[in-house]
Symmetry: D2
Subunit: 343 residues, 4 copies
């Protein structure tokens, strides 16, 4: 059994990790930390876990975490970078669901996250945990930087076009709609039901932290500078991301449907929908899947890609477990074979 | 023009007062206070008010408030009782939308509100601002205690039966469902969209502050002790209260529809629906109305009353303006003739 | 492998059965019928099932269904009663998720369902599929009448009190709130998002089909006539039922928490919450669980029981599979060990 | 008093017209037609209108409509074009809220609306009722084609940039999110609460009827062919449209904020928000306003415009009344001075 620790178990990604790992046949949950709720039973906070998780939140004690085989950081940004090095030294593998190790360039990280990076020496080693791109590297990694939720949906949507050299990359647009759980479980007025229900708004149009992450990922595939306009929106639902992606085709003869189906044929968690259809975010809710449809409106040179995920599963905890499965030589889909709840 | 001040203008009842008063032909908004947001334009926080309210939040400065004709307290509990006496001394009329003056017995107040009452000497004078019961007293009042949202819906629902002596009052049940805005605009985890969307829960089954207020109101009409089981629920919507009320008939021959229609025929803001129908909360959303239907399932001795209001209008700001209109000799419905938004 | 047929696979209970059975290790889906969608792939209608269900909707052909080991009816009322007898004659076990075999008295059935019963001769044999009451009978049954969603939540909530003789049964009240999926997947104006979003309403206060079913179940335990006022409400969410139950205690010394915990200690799918807590419907969403809390407000003689289920799982498809597991000698929880999605 | 008739009073735009006109000081509602509900009281279907509308739905009888001063068509597409000519001949002014007279080219109309146009001879005379563009023509018009909801939000957003010649018009993108009421009050499975709640989806990516309407409007201003990619989305709310518009600047020195403020300074119903802000759809819910913000992410050559309206007010019934006010020489804002409901 893999002994797993979870640092920051009281946020939405933490409890989602618990939901998945509780039914993972190869994992034993060894520690779930939470400064704020140390001493409380996990299932007192999260009654959906009653009978499945028999644990008590503990302080984030390094000696206890050092006995784990793997530690997940489901924390705010800035925590994992302060603890990862010592855990790695204790032969613990580390999977960070926050942003600490996502950007290769510490300078860029510091600009967007507002503090000096505490562990730049590990940025080179950290593997960006998008299995559809980095599977081999993940299998041997000690330190995984799990992609953000927006970056997962946007990169999976654009990758086939860029890999095949079919689009110009100097004018990409990603118009992305997210449910409220993407903002986390924090007491903030603007996330109240009364504020986010029955309303749609864009935010951070001038710049969002996930943009450099997406650009870094796309450029590494494109081998050229990528210019991306990224506009995130908050929509009145709890889970789900819908990315609507716009690009201009260079090669108007390409069979886009075929390009996507070939690219993702072997992928267990990327599902290319039939031509002419439109994905619903609900059809991936609670599942680790990305569903994608590719369109070419009016047969012109514009391509529109629709890509949906559950921000807490493929966009966070599910993808983290997918990475763990790969790192430990398990079937990649272990504990992730769940079907989205409909309706 | 009536010069109105609003203390605590940044909460939901405060901004709802602004929405109503902005279009009131006899009112001039003289001061809107907010400690937290002093110096900011009101319409920067609330862009729905742009072009309708040209004001800046100010500190709750008593000398400025003392120049008003009327001051509304749209504050948390415990503020109005510390300022009311001096305002009254300056000949300002005071309308408290919080709970400070609702209970006649300071001891009961202290048990439920957790502190000593700062102004018990005014509890006797304060008029409970339910116009359908206390209209005459309101017209001459200096100090109004606006009813709570739950108490408004429950009392308007039970009153005709109790006034007519038709039910036993030792086993009343009020099962009430409220939208999230009833809990106010405060940064609390349990009020997040992700927590209150797509879920229903009861709360405070062991006891809720509005129960003594309801009981006080019903007993003053019944002239006898009332035993009430009151269970509030949080439902996934923003505005609206649906009270489902249960009682046992003493007199099984009564024509209940007729009793309700007679009782409320002259009331502008209580609308008895046709026999056999069921009110929707949306049909009063944004309006100052209470819609009521009365049922007698299977022709038995049980009576079921359905009573709906918008918690922020008839349950708070609208009722406060209705009181103000009465106090200043205006048509009771001034600025309150709005039609609920459907759908 | 158990060969399972599903009649009426396009409704919400049908697709939920498919979601559960697709991951059931002992079941093979042999036929999924739908008159309206015959010839279409199941996953074209329900893309959440892609890669999990490789089937095409077929006509409800009896010879094909006769080859199954078990046939589920996820149909409107009135279908199963016309097909059950021939299937039973072919040694097929039948599980009806609709109402055809729930009421023992054909006369009562006809009054509430508006047509003559087509198969009254099987009403006696049919077992009411509430495992917490009828487990032994279910294990040997050929024909199961799955309880309705409201009746499941209400009966599980009241049973411990009635079995222990703790309450008077001549004045029970069940105030129940349901999400919109309880009304099924039918094109009806009143079920539109624009009609049911942001609103709460009671309905069928004069009488609802589930009331005689609940009364029948409670009376069989009480051994005495039960008088029940049942008021269903529609609330703006998709899945979930919250039953709020009111009764009067005969014996005020009883330890209610202990009564409930004892009654349900051995039940895998009924979870009695700690004293003083309140269940949320979301904590059972997607799971086969009923979570229950019992309260005694103000220490008086009234008891308030809060009981929540997912109407499509424990209230329909999950309970149907629980019955099937029992009928075929499998572990009762097979394929039902899923954890509710939070948030 | 203006005698107004409404054809098709039972849809969402019809009941919204009634809500607005009921409080219009210069309008008397002379007829409200509905084939399906003829004979029923209007307020029996729409209890929010009780005491405000004392009318009964009638058959769409032309002689009765011919006595009106103005007739609104709140019907499905294809009705107004069969009745308009005779009404105009009776000196009735006609305001069509459907699409019959929006497109100048009957051939284009027929391609998108699937039938021959019944009245092409009036297409030239019909005035496209976007007051911010066509105010003078509206004032003297006999026949108004009210813009669609998507076209209103998109055109108001793009117009200042195109009029000022600041963007290239051969690669415009409009990513638009609509609440469910935009699809109307029709019994359709895909519009159920259970289908549209908690989910986001794009639709009609290959082509939507509103695209030619938008292109026609933008080209008439641009004086050049416009290439537009238009992707509509359904989001889980009832009212509101959020248009996110993307274009490339030709002139990077322009002060975009100033351009928008100048363009709309005199417009009562277009509100340019302060620089750097983001509109919420809720801030225009129930009001006739369009709120707009203009952004230039990262100071580059891309411009992002955010434009929100209430699809039933500025996107339909409110705009229709704004047109009527202009046609009859009234203050353009009569009966439209309502403030959006927040929260």
């Amino acid at each position: 059994m893999i002994k797993a620790g979870i640092v920051g178990g009281t946020g939405y990604t933490g409890v989602e990790l618990l939901r998945i790992l509780a039914l993972h046949p190869e994992v034993e949950i060894a520690a779930v930390t939470s400064r704020a709720d140390a001493g409380k039973r996990v299932d007192a906070l999260y009654p959906n876990l009653r009978a499945y998780i028999d644990a008590v939140f503990c302080e984030p004690d390094e000696s206890r975490l050092a006995e784990c085989d793997v530690v997940f950081f489901a924390t705010p940004n800035g925590i994992a970078m302060r603890m990862a090095e010592r855990l790695l030294a204790s032969h613990v593998r580390v999977i960070d669901l926050a942003a600490d190790f996502r950007l290769k360039d510490a300078t860029v990280w510091e600009r967007w996250y507002g503090e000096a990076h505490a562990c730049p020496q590990l940025l080179g080693e950290a593997v960006y945990g998008l299995p559809e791109v980095n599977r081999a590297a993940i299998q041997t990694a000690r330190l995984i930087a799990c992609p953000g939720c927006y970056p997962t949906s946007v990169q999976l949507g654009f990758l086939p076009l860029i890999e095949a050299g079919l689009i110009t990359v100097d004018n990409l647009i990603a118009d992305v709609k997210s449910g409220a759980s993407g903002a986390g479980r924090k007491a903030a007025t603007h996330l109240l039901m009364s504020e986010t229900g029955e309303s749609v708004k864009a935010y951070a149009v001038e710049g969002h932290r996930h943009r450099p992450e997406i650009v870094q990922g796309l450029e590494s595939v494109a081998g050229a500078p990528v210019r991306l306009t990224f506009v995130p929106h908050l929509v009145p639902m709890i889970r789900g991301i819908h990315a609507t992606l716009y690009a201009e085709l260079k090669n108007s003869a390409a069979d886009l449907q075929q390009v996507y189906e070939s690219r993702y044929r072997a992928e267990r968690f990327v599902d290319v929908l039939p031509q002419g259809t439109h994905p619903d975010t609900r059809n991936v809710r609670g599942s680790n899947r990305c569903q994608i449809a590719v369109h070419r409106p009016n047969g012109g040179n514009s391509v529109v890609v629709l890509s949906v995920i559950d921000n807490l599963v493929k966009g966070a905890a599910g993808q983290a477990v997918q990475n763990m499965n790969l790192m430990f030589g398990l079937d990649e889909a272990t504990a992730l074979e769940t079907i989205a709840l409909y309706p």
